[in-house]
Amino acid sequence: MSELLEIVIISLWISGTALLLSLLWSIPIALTLGLRRFRGRGTLISFFNAMLGIPTVALGLILYLILSRGGPLGILGLLYTPTAIIIGQAILITPIIVSLLTSAIEAVDPEIMNLARTLGASERQASLAVLGEARKGGILAGVAAFNRAVSELGIALMLGGGIAGWTRVMSTEIQRATGAGEFLLSIQLAAVLLTIVFALTFLMNLLRRD
């Protein structure tokens, strides 16, 4: 059971950090796309929409080749560390956060920006006011992104290696244990994973209610 617990905690920690990391750049990107009008904006939005369905194995492979000792960022020695999975998952979920948050921001009354400004907000504070109005979409984006990160297999497997007590997360362990005939462990982990995903979704719906 403590092995199970360890895997669950590592999973939540890795995917949670990936979410936080991704928010750092995804929120500014979504604000820019949602509030500013510039050339190439439409192309960028389509790009992020197209990246929504990127196969995790493809992204995992690309990052493996980059982070591998023989690759361009090999000197960092990041392959097979939680950091590598965190980076990979943060990139994976960026299109989810950006796409969902951008459309949530676009759905906000455009006068909110002017309202905030006339009440004394700086441009930055006015953007944040819009983000505040888009919070329901923001919560949806965050939960969807976290669920995707915690459930994905390709990146965790290729960049983490499934090392016990270090990079072994729920998805990699379900895959390994199933292949190794340890069905009890797989089923337990799958149950925990489903519970987490459902609980988060439920919690989100509570939060999204007024």
Binding site: D109, E111, I112, N114, L115, A116, R117, T118, L119, G120, A121, S122, E123, Q125, A129, G132, E133, D210
Partner: protein
Amino acid sequence: MAVLQRLKHVTQEYDGKIVLRGVSLSVRRGEVLSIIGPNGAGKTTLLRIMGLLDKPVGGEVIYRGVKVRKSNAPHIRSKITMVFQRAVLFNTTVFDNIAYGLKLRGYSSDEIERRVGRVLERVGMEKFSKRRAKTLSGGEQQRVVIARALVLEPELLLLDEPTANLDPTNVTIVEEIIRSLKNNAAVVVTTHNLFQARRLPDRVVCLLDGAVIDVGKTDDIFRHPKDERTRKFISGKLF
């Protein structure tokens, strides 16, 4: 009376269509100024420029003798507050809506509570403090957005059709509030209501098709309109 804001030859266009054609006017400290004119005359457009929310394509805006530029606009804008024609509300409680500008200005939460309480009482909305603002009726929303501007005690208050949704009692309350502000601030009110235009402001600007056709003391405009079109408009016969 000293001039607070002056517009010089302000022009504005939307998608190439000219909406304001060289509007010049000044707002003086301690006065209520009404802008009247038919639908589409450019009243809202003008007010947004006065509120420094939109930049005109031509002409200049001068505030307290200083020309408004991109660099000083945010600072000057913090002394001007506009209430939009359509009630725009944050999706939070009435209290949080009104507290927003105070929070930006760094007041303590005690102080914010006191000021919000006072202004809500003033517009007769003290019972609605905890309500989600978007669940209020049209007139209640209108009073909240007015309170939200009043609480900031701006030097220049711009009201776009503030009483359009209100019942007679509340029209009277709001007009009294506007008059009481005169000592400390200048108030610009757009209106279609000619009775209001007659009883509320000190001066009236008559806007037609993006140009000022008449401006003067309220009595002068209504008794001796200089322009033929003004005369028609105030007797309800324009177009």
